[in-house]
């Protein structure tokens, strides 16, 4: 076949025959192949473990961000009750940025789950083929002459070899995806370093560089909508602001407000670590 499938088939077959060109004695080839197969299966297991680790890391970041959303919402409420509307707006803008990041993380976690599932399926198939090969190699050893055995071995071994090449490709793709996830995780780290997660009540009302950047990043209409809604909840007069934000989030967040105490402690620990880069940005 001249098309895409022909090209792919040729490449895989070349790779498999390379795997088999190692030993000359049939019995030796059989045992060598089997040993290689078992090793490869171990590698696949390790690959799956790596994907699971990457997923857990992202899930931990997700829960940090969720705490931040609750905390920033609480701070916006407190600021508004205290008549500091500017501060409330800043808190809501930051909440907006964190929520956007949260959505993106959620997508990535989902993708990793799919990768994990695919690799687990591939591992099961490879295991089944290796087990079949193990049985077959004993039969070949017992029943065939050296010349016949050579043919039978390459038939059986290419079947496993093809599966190995395939699981190798699946692993490579999973690793590439995991690398992308690392970039995402680093982006969250940068948000922390930029001071997004700092306790904004310590900032005072003065607008700093981060605030200005955040204003550009976040959707103003959503923030104004959130602000109007918050005012409504606190029975304050609402000024004619931008379009309404999404409904229902603030109510849910206030139920979780107590949880934000814990988040606050964690936030100040992160703040210490992030002071240097944040100040650098202002200079």
């Amino acid at each position: 076949m001249p098309g895409l499938t022909g090209r792919m088939s040729t490449v895989v077959k070349a790779k498999v025959s390379k795997l088999l060109d190692k030993a000359e004695d049939p019995a030796e080839t059989l045992d060598y192949s089997y040993q290689k197969q078992v090793e490869q299966l171990q590698n696949v297991k390790k690959g799956i473990a790596d994907v699971v680790t990457a997923k857990k890391r992202l899930q931990m970041q997700e829960s940090t961000l969720q705490q931040q959303v609750v905390k920033l919402d609480t701070q916006a409420r407190q600021a508004l009750s205290g008549g500091q509307e500017d501060l409330a707006r800043t808190a809501l803008e930051r909440k907006n940025v964190v929520q956007t990041e949260l959505q993106s993380l959620d997508t990535q976690v989902h993708e990793l789950e799919e990768q994990q599932q695919k690799l687990t399926d591939s591992e099961q198939k490879l295991r089944a083929k290796i087990e079949a090969f193990r049985t077959k190699k004993e039969v070949i050893k017992a029943q065939y002459s050296a010349a016949e055995a050579q043919v039978k071995i390459s038939e059986a071994a290419t079947g496993v070899g093809e599966q190995m090449a395939d699981v190798g490709l699946a692993m490579q793709r999973a690793v590439d995806k995991t690398e992308n996830m690392k970039a995402r995780a680093d982006a969250v780290g940068e948000l922390e370093a930029a001071g997004t997660f700092d306790d904004i009540t310590q900032l005072g009302s003065g607008e700093d560089d981060i605030d200005r950047q955040l204003k550009q990043l976040s959707s103003n209409s959503a923030v104004e909508g959130d602000l109007a809604k918050l005012k409504g909840e606190l029975n304050m007069p609402t000024q004619p602001a931008g379009a309404g934000g999404s409904a229902g989030e603030l109510g849910a967040a206030s139920d979780d407000a107590e949880a934000s105490d814990g988040a606050g402690t964690q936030g100040s620990a992160e703040q210490d670590a992030s002071n240097a880069p944040a100040e650098g940005g202002q200079g």
């Binding site: 001249p2 087990e131 793709r173």
Partner: protein
């Protein structure tokens, strides 16, 4: 004949079905056109044909494939590199 969809399964298909060849050539033409949408459609058609007309091969079957299709989430860029670069599986 046995066709493998990479990362998925092996399928046994009736020999000498010209449709597979046609669909494969359509994919190749789509890759050469460089249009993402056209490529996606053509490749999905090829995969759908194999899944619909093939019977999955048992996991402990050691038979080799006559044809190997790249992974279903193949991108146009990856498909192009299959023909120009070292392909999906480097040495």
């Amino acid at each position: 004949m046995i066709v493998r969809i990479s990362g998925e399964d092996q399928y046994r298909l009736p020999d000498g079905d010209g449709r597979l060849n046609e669909l494969d050539n359509a994919v190749l033409a789509a890759v050469q056109s460089g249009e993402e949408g056209r490529f996606r459609l053509a490749y999905d058609n090829l995969l759908a044909f194999v899944r619909a007309n093939g019977t999955p091969v048992a996991d402990d079957d050691l038979e080799t494939s006559d044809l190997i299709l790249p992974p279903p989430d193949l991108s146009l860029a990856e498909a192009s590199s299959e023909f120009t670069g070292e392909g999906l599986i480097p040495d």
